[in-house]
């Protein structure tokens, strides 16, 4: 595999469906980092991920993974990728032993030892059929399978959705360990932005098929803030600074994307830190400008 700085490079990715367009999306996932991929349902996260995996063919744009073309070098790339979806893709009639038998013949670098170590760590039974697994167990099984062939890139589509906080924490710990190797990278789409705030190095946010934000998480969080103000104060804020404003009964919450400048411009204004959830909600309502 050639030398690369970004695990994933996406440029001008466009895919048109009836009623939805993934429109000219570009972003990079730096090697050795974890990128949170956020957006509401139907924003285009799964389409983007499926395009990276060449499950969906793009209309235009380029996708490079490990510096290789995702179509031309598809199978070379896929030897080093692990994909984790929101549902276990293994038949209910199979068990963990079966998965070991199947995947060790598919992945050159499959390690049964690693796989069974993960099973022990997750306290997953080896002979129990997946049909009898809980959602948490199924997700852990997927993670165990994904981590056992020395993949350099983990792509997860809503993998932690629907899991309880204990299981999610356990899984996030595994990701931290995985990222100790600088060759490893993660692209993780999720609704649960609190998880991403904990572990992501960078964040990409898309909405209605369009890329809104992509960059380092800390910078994004640093640049975004919520001005808590009265209706009169609100009128004094330059509309160019406003992402959108949530109108409450007694005050207005205004999201700004340039906190440092706003602090200078509107001295005395109370600017609270915004979290990824806030950023998502205010950006999704950016067309309305004012919303309740």
């Amino acid at each position: 595999m050639n030398d690369y700085t970004n695990a994933i490079e996406i440029n001008g990715l466009t895919k048109k469906f009836d009623g939805f367009t993934l429109d000219n999306v570009s972003f990079n996932v730096p090697k050795g980092s974890i990128m949170g991929f956020i957006g509401q349902n139907g924003a285009g996260k799964t389409t983007t991920i499926n395009t990276i995996l060449n499950i969906v063919k793009a209309d235009s744009g380029t996708v490079n993974v490990f510096g290789l073309d995702h179509i031309k070098d598809e199978y070379e790339i896929k030897k080093n990728i692990a994909a984790v979806f929101d549902e276990l893709p293994f038949d209910d009639r199979l068990n963990a032993n079966d998965i070991d038998i199947i995947l060790r013949e598919i992945f050159e670098e499959w390690s049964s030892e690693t796989f069974f170590n993960y099973l022990d760590r997750f306290q997953l039974p080896r002979k129990k059929k997946f049909g009898k697994f809980s959602k948490g167990m199924k997700m852990k099984m997927q993670i165990a399978a994904a981590m056992s062939h020395n993949a350099k890139l983990l792509i997860m589509d809503e993998a932690t959705t629907g899991l309880d906080p204990v299981v999610r924490n356990e899984i996030l710990d595994i990701f931290f360990e995985y990222l100790q190797n600088e060759e490893h990278s993660i692209l993780m789409s999720s609704h649960i932005t609190s998880d991403l705030e904990k572990i992501a190095d960078s964040v990409t946010f898309i909405d209605k098929g369009k890329l809104l934000i992509s960059g380092y998480k800390d910078e994004i969080l640093e640049n975004h803030g919520i001005i808590r103000c009265t209706k009169d104060d609100y009128k004094a804020i330059d509309p160019a600074d406003i992402v959108s404003a949530r109108v409450n009964d007694f005050n207005i919450d205004v999201m700004v994307a340039n906190v440092a400048e706003c602090q200078r411009k509107y001295s005395g204004a109370v600017i609270d830190r915004a979290n990824l959830d806030d950023i998502m909600v205010f950006y999704v309502n950016r067309d309305k400008k004012e919303w309740r």
Binding site: K78, A82, A83, F85, L88, P89, F90, I102, I106, F107
Partner: protein, 265 residues
């Protein structure tokens, strides 16, 4: 590819075991009934009853052997969509050709084993019934082989239609035209048997016989009339059977590759 084959076999395990159990049970039941003609209270001189049971015993064994495992594979293809395996397999470092080869290697193997079971079934029935192996029954095994070969198209059909009912309907639409010559031959045989029977009755009446006319063993008469057709049918099957089956597997494989490359989820 081994991983894909293992997976198919694991998922088909139940169907394979069930097929084996039904096959063995069918052998036992056939033996019980056929032996009853010699050692039980069934009348061996009732050739019509004996011949029918002998024929059906083979037909059941052939059908179970040939159709059972392929039905198991059909179910697992539809389940692949429900369990999201279809999407997951596209994330694996396996080209569409490898995925398709895995399916067709299994399909080909169960097909060959099915035909073997059909032939063994006839051999077994021949021994149990004391009639010996009947080459005529080989025609049925070959005909089942043709239909089973046609079912090689089931794989891409299942991937496209994803519904057992629709697949069965499409299979009927494709397979029914093949039955037309069979129905024509059956009609011809029936007509000829009727003509011969009428001629026998007429000859008996002309000779002054009254009352019911003894036309002999109806099964024997039927076979006498059908034998030239069976021989022709067997020759035709021998000539076109193998190329047809190979063609169906090839077409099915190509369509499966195409369907996998389409990557429809």
């Amino acid at each position: 590819m081994k991983g894909i084959i293992y997976r198919e076999l694991i998922l088909m395990k139940k169907a394979l075991i069930l097929t084996a159990v039904v096959y063995v049970l069918s052998m036992i039941f056939a033996a019980v009934v056929l032996l009853a003609f010699d050692y039980g209270n069934l009348d061996r001189s009732d050739t019509e009853a004996f011949e029918m049971i002998r024929m059906y015993s083979t037909l059941i064994l052939v059908t179970v052997g040939v159709c059972g495992p392929s039905m198991g594979q059909l179910k697992s293809i539809i389940d692949d969509y429900n369990t999201r395996w279809m999407g997951f397999q596209y994330t694996l470092p396996l080209p569409a050709e490898t995925l398709a080869k895995g399916k067709y290697l299994i399909r080909g193997t169960v097909f060959a084993v099915g035909l073997m079971l059909g032939i063994l079934g006839e051999l077994y029935i021949g021994i149990i019934s004391g009639t010996g192996f009947r080459p005529n029954m080989l025609v049925f095994v070959l005909a089942m082989g043709i239909f089973s070969g046609l079912s090689a198209l089931e794989v891409p059909l299942a991937m496209r239609l994803r519904n057992e009912g629709k697949i069965a309907a499409a299979g009927m639409a494709i397979g029914m035209p093949l039955l037309i010559p069979f129905f024509i031959v059956v009609m011809k045989i029936t007509k000829e048997v009727e003509q011969r029977t009428a001629a026998l009755v007429e000859a008996a009446r002309a000779a002054g016989e009254e009352g019911p006319v003894d036309i002999g063993d109806p099964m024997k008469l039927m076979l006498e009339v059908a034998q030239p057709y069976i021989d022709t049918f067997r020759t035709v099957l021998m000539i076109v059977g193998v190329p047809f089956i190979v063609l169906m597997f090839f077409v099915g494989y190509k369509l499966t590759v195409k369907e996998l490359k389409r990557r429809s989820l």
